[in-house]
Symmetry: D2
């Protein structure tokens, strides 16, 4: 794929900074963290419902909404996506080690 | 960053397929979509609380949990992350066009 | 108080049955369980945010929304509120007994 | 019904005040609003899943959990249940009036 979550992160940052009155992202930033977190929670509810009620219908679209709003929340908190990915990488390694340790002959 | 969400997607797929009784991912897959979706919803609640109550404390960790469980749900529904990213790319372009169209002189 | 949750349950049932095109409740029923459950989830997100971000501001209003949508979901599933209260009563007694049993001299 | 939400409210208040180390309610109060709100959010997720995935199975139990944790959150915010019921009564009347006004011949 050419498009990555990092690409979306850059677009979110750029639109947030634009103050463009036509931009949904800019408007969401203007409303602040509480509203952005609420939207994140709502998209999570819709993702959960799509997942259990009729997968895979709707799940691509709801997951996209969820990822977008997560990036908005992270930006509002001044957290780069790379920090979250570094945390995920760290856990993956730890889990790998734990799994290794727990198996007799590996 | 060296570590990407696509890397995590591969690890999730590999552990899901392993059936390793020590792997949290394998155990989550064995319990099925309803449990995975519940975990996704719970991590979203924790992300929302971290975002509004005490950002940025806890937000990196909760966002990591949320992304991981989203990848588990997508895998259970046989949806590749690239489909979600393609959807995000499409929307970004549409929004760009809409924003352009709505501004008189661009 | 004169007004009880049982009173609201009766009003919800009556409006659901009315098919009144002006009634929010009737419209919600027409859209079905998935939409009602989504609204329940969204109101829960708002209740959580009001609780952690700025209590008690907004918490009365969000709790009212949450209770109303819970009654809608219960009605759609043909579950009387009295069944839920009976379950709560049962647990309360069990917990009481457990607490008693765990204290040496009570 | 003999058991009401007001009865549960009194039990929650009494156990919260007890400081009893064996009481789940007392322990939840000791952990504070953020934890109580998290539990409320988690129970809402489970209620939503029970509602859309396999109603009515599990819905009585999850609704009971949700109501209990809502009462805990309200108590932590010093909001009496009667305030929430008064809000619900007020809305019900307003909606009734609106519905009346919107219908030509009532």
């Amino acid at each position: 794929v050419s498009f990555s979550l990092e690409d979306l992160e850059k677009i979110v940052a750029s639109r947030a900074a634009s103050g463009d009155a036509q931009s949904y992202t800019a408007k969401l930033f203007a409303r602040g963290m509480e509203k952005a977190a609420q939207k994140l929670g709502e998209e999570a509810v819709e993702t959960v419902i799509a997942a259990v009620a009729h997968p895979p219908k709707g799940l691509i679209s709801e997951s996209a909404d969820l990822l977008y709003h997560l990036l908005v929340v992270l930006r509002l908190a001044d957290i780069p996506l790379s920090d979250v990915l570094a945390e995920l990488e760290k856990r993956t390694k730890e889990t790998g080690l734990q799994e290794k340790a727990s198996r007799p002959k590996d």
